[in-house]
Amino acid sequence: MEKLIYGMPESLKNVSTTYCPGCSHSTVHKLIAEVIDELKVREKTIGVAPVGCAVFAYDFWNFDVTEAAHGRNQAVSAAIKRVLPDNVVFSYQGDGDLASIGMAETIHTANRGENITVIFINNTNYGMTGGQMAPTSLLGQVTTTSPKGRDAQHYGYPIKMLELLAPLEGVKYLERVKVTNAASVIKAKKAIKKAFENQINNTGFSMIEVLGSCPANWKKEPAEANRWVDEKMAEFYPLGVIKDAR
């Protein structure tokens, strides 16, 4: 007698996503869907998609999703949560959406301690628009707008978002993970699940930063891109729990 022990989560629509092969957005979409299934909250979940590669998330998740203007994601999700406190509301954003144009929205939503979950994919560039530098691009990183490699004098320094938010009282849980192999995917899923459970337990603002690979714009094979995350990104952006004030 055969038994299916791993398959498509119900909270993921059976359509192929628009993401490139090996892109971490895909992986995290799957993990969020698995977590929402396990917590049995699919019918209460409202996702807020960013502007960027994940703008089409409403086509991939099998629950209510809206799309916020670029950077305004956490204002939208905070208001949804205030109006519907019993629903599960999460912001899903890339680094341009959250750490650049949406920085004020991010800091103030965190500082207000809004009881939402934020899933932040940091792949050090603006993917959808073709690989421009982002606030999280590493020093020396070549992008389409830092052709000679990012230098601090002209472009400033890469921003560690979790460390920036940690001192804010309203912030209850911050963890940084990656999804470069099965082991790290398992850890990432645990972190994402914790961030959703925090919300369900009314703990307050939780954010998970995923160091994500962007094979297309980094011009690397998926496996090579993951190695770059392991060696270069994880070196600058320390993995693990940055804050746990629950």
Partner: protein, 73 residues
């Protein structure tokens, strides 16, 4: 020893081959067939070593791998 097998959802696979790296038993290999989107679909070797550990399915970005456990021998 548990006996497992893997089913690839061909239209979801994008040929990123990360699952091949993850499989410790060499039960996955680069595919020769191409799906509607033009991605080469990974193939299950099926040389009897798969124990249903699901690592391939876990790392797969696109939830394109189903893992089935067969009855204990």
């Amino acid at each position: 020893m548990k006996k497992g097998k893997v089913r690839i959802l061909a239209e979801r696979c994008k040929g990123c081959n990360l699952c091949i790296l993850e499989c410790k038993k060499g039960e996955l290999k680069q595919g020769k067939t191409v799906n509607k989107q033009g991605y080469s679909v990974v193939e299950f070797v099926n040389n009897g070593k798969c124990n249903g550990c699901t690592l391939c399915a876990i790392v797969c970005p696109d939830a394109a791998i189903e893992v089935i456990l067969e009855a204990e021998e």
